[in-house]
C-alpha cells in the first residue's frame, strides 16, 4: 500500500515536471536557434518562447495550455505488476489534472463530452516493456494536438529508398506550415509495416534530439533531413526564418519487399518528456 502511495505521488511529480520544464537538449537547441536567427519576427517568436519557458519553470506551471494526450511508457521490473501500475497511473493522472492543473483533454468521440480528468477509453495510453531489474521506469510524453494533427504516414516507392524518405518529410513539413508550432521535433519511422512504423516514430520522439541513431547511415540521414527542413524557410511559428526544426530522430525496422512505409510524427517546440525510476522500497528519482 505504502509503495502504491509513493508511486502515485511520484507519477504526479513526473507529470508536473513533464509539463512545466523542457529537457536540456530541447532548451539548448532553442537557444542555439535564437543565436543564429537574423529575421526580426522570428527572433521575437523565439525570445517569447524562451521567456515563457523560464516563467513556467519558475512558477511550476504548464509551459503550454495544451498539456496533451498523455502517453506513458513503462519499463516494468520484477517487483511490480502491470495492473497495479496501470491503476496508479490512472489515479495519478486524475490527481495531477486537479492539482497542477492540467487541461482536461480526453473527449468522448461519440458524445463529445470531456471526461474532465484526462482519463477515458484507452487514455492515458500505456506501453509496457519488461525487464529483469527490480526497479521500474516510467516515461511520459505529453503531446499537444496541433502537432499531432499534421502527423502523417506515407508509402514511398521502394525504388526511391532513403531519398524518398527525405522528400516525404520535407513535403510534410511544407504542408504543415505554422500549424505544429515550429521549430518542431520530428520523429520519423521507416519500415516495419503500417502499424509498426508509427510506433517507431513515437520511439524516435522519446530519444533526446542531441543523440544520433547508432547506425551511421541513419545518423547521416537525420542530419540531412534536418538541414533540408531548415532550408524550407517556414521558420518559428510559420512566420519565416532559419529554424523550422530543432531535431530529427529516425528509427528503422526491416520492411516488406513491396512496401516502404514512412511515418512522420511532429512534436511542437515544447517537446516535453520526462522519466522517473522507482525502487521496491518506494524511493524514486528523476532520470
Amino acid at each position: 500500500m505504502r509503495w502504491a502511495e509513493n508511486f502515485e505521488e511520484a507519477v504526479v511529480e513526473l507529470l508536473r515536471r513533464s509539463v512545466s520544464t523542457l529537457p536540456p537538449d530541447v532548451k539548448s537547441a532553442l537557444e542555439a536557434a535564437l543565436k543564429r536567427e537574423s529575421e526580426e519576427i522570428a527572433r521575437i517568436q523565439l525570445e517569447a518562447m524562451l521567456e515563457n519557458i523560464r516563467m513556467a519553470e519558475e512558477k511550476r506551471l504548464p509551459i503550454c495550455q495544451d498539456t496533451g494526450i498523455l502517453h506513458f511508457r513503462v519499463r516494468l521490473g520484477s517487483s511490480a505488476n502491470a495492473r497495479t501500475v496501470r491503476d496508479v497511473i490512472l489515479k495519478a493522472t486524475a490527481k495531477a489534472t486537479r492539482e497542477i492543473p492540467l487541461r482536461p483533454n480526453a473527449v468522448d468521440p461519440v458524445t463529445g463530452i470531456n471526461s474532465g480528468d484526462n482519463t477515458g477509453l484507452h487514455v492515458p495510453w500505456i506501453d509496457f516493456e519488461h525487464s529483469e531489474d527490480d526497479w521500474i521506469e516510467v516515461t511520459v510524453l505529453p503531446k499537444g494536438g496541433g502537432s499531432d494533427n499534421v502527423s502523417t504516414i506515407r508509402f514511398v516507392p521502394p525504388s526511391e529508398g532513403l531519398r524518398g524518405v527525405k522528400e516525404a518529410v520535407v513535403d510534410a513539413v511544407l504542408r504543415a506550415g505554422g500549424a505544429p508550432c515550429p521549430p518542431v521535433v520530428l520523429g520519423v519511422g521507416v519500415g516495419g509495416g503500417a502499424s509498426v512504423v508509427m510506433q517507431l516514430a513515437k520511439k524516435a520522439l522519446m530519444r533526446p534530439i542531441s543523440e544520433r541513431n547508432p547506425n551511421r547511415e541513419i545518423a547521416k540521414l537525420e542530419l540531412e533531413i534536418l538541414e533540408a527542413v531548415n532550408g524550407t524557410g517556414v521558420g518559428p511559428m510559420g512566420l519565416g526564418g532559419k529554424t523550422t526544426a530543432i531535431g530529427v530522430n529516425v528509427e528503422v525496422a526491416h520492411r516488406h519487399p513491396a512496401s516502404y512505409p514512412v511515418a512522420i510524427l511532429f512534436n511542437c517546440y515544447v517537446a516535453r518528456r520526462a522519466k522517473i525510476r522507482m525502487y521496491p522500497n518506494g524511493e524514486w528519482l528523476f532520470c
Binding site: I41, I44, Q45, A48, M49, E51, N52, M55, A56, K59, L61, P62, I63, C64, Q65, D66, T67, P101, L102, R103, P104, N105, V107, G112, I113, N114, G116, G144, G145, G146, N149, L174, G177, G178, A179, C181, G233, V234, M237, G238, L239, G240, C268, Y269, V270
Partner: protein, 180 residues
C-alpha cells in the same frame, strides 16, 4: 512598427495596421475554438441571442487552463491554438458580428483573408505554446459562457493588459506573412 491598441477596435485602428507590425493589446478578448464558433453560427442562423457582443471585438483562438477556487477563476496557461480549424467559420463571424481582430497561431485560409480585407479586420499571431507568458498578461476573467462545451471550448471573457507580442500576420489589405 510597434503599436499599442485598446478595445473596442475601430475600423481605422485596424486599417492602419500592416503585416509585420507588432501590437500590444489592452482591453477585453474572448476565447473561442471550434465548438464555440459552430454554436455561434447556429445561434445566428436561428436568431438566438449570443451571450457576448463582438462588435469591435477580439476573438482569441485559445483553450486555456483555468483554475477554479471557490468563486475565483484564474488563468493558468493560455497560449493560442491552431487557427486553421476555425477557417470554415471565421469569415461569417467577422461579417456578421463585426469582429476586428482574430488572435491565434499558424495563420488562416484564403476566405478569412478576403473577409478581413472586405470588412476591416486583422489576424494577429501570438507565439504558440507561450501559455504562461499569455496568462501573465491576463488581469482577470470577466466571465465565462457556454461552459457546458468543456474548459477548452468555452467562451472565456478575459481582461488583458499589453497582451503580446502580437505579430500582424494577415492585414486588412489582403497581405499575409504565411506562404503557400
Amino acid at each position: 512598427m510597434n503599436v499599442k491598441l485598446a478595445t473596442p477596435l475601430s475600423e481605422s485602428d485596424v486599417r492602419s495596421l500592416h503585416v509585420g507590425d507588432i501590437v500590444f493589446l489592452s482591453g477585453t478578448i474572448v476565447t473561442a475554438r471550434d465548438a464555440a464558433h459552430k454554436r455561434m453560427i447556429e445561434s445566428i442562423r436561428s436568431s438566438r441571442p449570443l451571450p457576448i457582443n463582438l462588435k469591435g471585438g477580439v476573438i482569441y483562438h485559445c483553450g486555456p487552463i483555468v483554475k477554479r477556487e471557490k468563486d475565483r477563476l484564474t488563468i493558468v496557461s493560455a497560449g493560442p491554438t491552431t487557427s486553421m480549424r476555425m477557417e470554415p467559420f471565421e469569415p461569417f463571424i467577422i461579417e456578421r458580428l463585426g469582429v476586428r481582430m482574430v488572435i491565434g497561431k499558424g495563420g488562416m485560409g484564403k476566405e478569412t483573408v478576403k473577409a478581413m480585407k472586405r470588412h476591416g479586420a486583422v489576424y494577429a499571431a501570438f507565439p504558440g505554446g507561450a501559455g504562461v507568458l499569455a496568462a501573465s498578461k491576463v488581469s482577470c476573467v470577466l466571465r465565462v459562457e457556454w461552459e457546458d462545451l468543456g474548459m477548452p471550448e468555452a467562451l472565456w471573457v478575459l481582461k488583458v493588459e499589453s497582451f503580446g507580442p502580437l505579430v500582424i500576420a494577415i492585414d486588412s489589405h489582403g497581405e499575409t506573412l504565411y506562404r503557400g
